[in-house]
């Protein structure tokens, strides 16, 4: 019960912040893919920057467990590209679209119907896909610092300022 209460509060906050950030708006999402509006990048990279610094310290204190997905190179790339095609056609991604419904965009119901179909089709094929595509280029659960053989600390000291510079650059576009 406590878990569901947390999910409720966190979900309310997530939808609230997505809406305030402007990324529940169709023209802002498509504007990002058209490379004429960079709001989506600004929101995502800010979240990544703040999130990764906080998570680093929480990991140091062993307050959080990692939830890292394995590298399945072929599935990541093909799935990622297919997702991108769908993202452009729908004009929303799964999270921003749910939030867009909350701001009155009933048009999101069309892509949501599609997502139910797509999810079930995947489930139908999941046994086969797990044994084929998902095994191609399987490198396990690996992080960028692990791949580069550097500590998380060293990586963040270099990467966090870089992300910050990108964010500053985006503000001048």
């Amino acid at each position: 019960m406590k878990k569901f209460f947390q999910a409720l509060i966190f979900g309310l906050s997530f939808g609230f912040l997505l809406q305030k950030g402007g990324v529940t708006k169709y023209h802002i999402l498509e504007g990002q893919l058209l490379l004429s509006d960079f709001t989506v990048m600004k929101v995502m990279l800010s979240a990544i920057l703040v999130g990764m610094i906080g998570l680093y310290f929480l990991q140091q204190k062993s307050l959080v467990k990692p939830h890292i997905k394995p590298v399945q190179l072929v599935a990541n790339i093909i799935g990622g590209l297919i997702f991108g095609v769908g993202f452009a056609l729908a004009g929303y991604c799964p999270g921003t679209g749910a939030a867009a419904l909350g701001q009155g965009n009933l048009n999101t119901l069309y892509y949501m119907g599609g997502m139910l179909v797509g999810s079930y089709v995947f489930a139908e094929l999941s046994e086969t896909l797990n044994q084929t595509v998902k095994t191609w280029g399987d490198f396990g659960k690996v992080t960028i610092p692990e791949y580069l053989h550097v500590s998380n600390k060293v990586f963040l000291i270099i990467f966090a300022p870089l992300l910050f510079l990108v964010l500053i650059g985006l503000s001048r576009l």
């Binding site: 947390q6 800010s46 590209l81 799964p94």
Partner: protein
């Protein structure tokens, strides 16, 4: 071809600075990881709902699918989280004077008129859900939660989301 740029400009920006909203989403991730032991994610909730509906019509068959054996289709944290995000965006848009019931996004209507959005969005939804399940997450699960953990799989997937989207949008606008 640059007609869409004017429309995007006229339709305007986010209520808050995207940097602020994004940073707070990063802070929210600290809490979901620490208190709920969960990464922020959106796409699996659609798969859960598809499985719940599947159970109504073909219970045995649905529960025997590999994906639903691994991810039982019942009320869970992710589902409550996404459902609540609809409410959060409603609160944000209603109090911010941005709530508006619409059946077609404004940008689409201005460029393409009132036809065809539903079918494009529906197909987009199918592709997005299938792609997300194949890649192992969406713009939330991979794009925020995975990337901030510096997961290699997530950074590759996120890149592919945008490559697929940026190419596809060229045919739409």
């Amino acid at each position: 071809m640059s007609e869409y740029k004017e429309v995007i400009n006229v339709l305007g920006q986010s209520a808050w600075s995207p940097y602020l909203a994004g940073s707070l989403i990063g802070v929210l991730a600290w809490f979901t990881f620490t208190l709920s032991d969960k990464p922020i994610g959106a796409s699996s909730a659609y798969a859960t709902l598809a499985g719940m509906i599947g159970k109504l019509f073909a219970k045995e068959h649905t529960l025997n699918l590999k994906y639903y054996q691994d991810n039982p289709p019942r009320l869970n944290w992710e589902f409550v989280f996404v459902l609540s995000s609809i409410g959060g965006a409603f609160i944000s848009s209603y109090t911010g004077g941005e709530f508006e019931v619409r059946w077609i996004p404004k940008l689409w209507e201005k460029i393409h008129g009132t036809d065809n959005y539903a079918i494009y969005a529906f197909i987009g939804g199918i592709l997005m859900a299938f792609g997300a399940r194949l890649a192992g997450g969406c713009t939330s699960g991979h794009g925020i939660s995975g990337t901030l953990q510096l997961s290699v799989a997530s950074w590759i997937s996120l890149l592919c989301f945008f490559v697929g989207g940026v190419i596809t949008i060229q045919f739409l606008y």
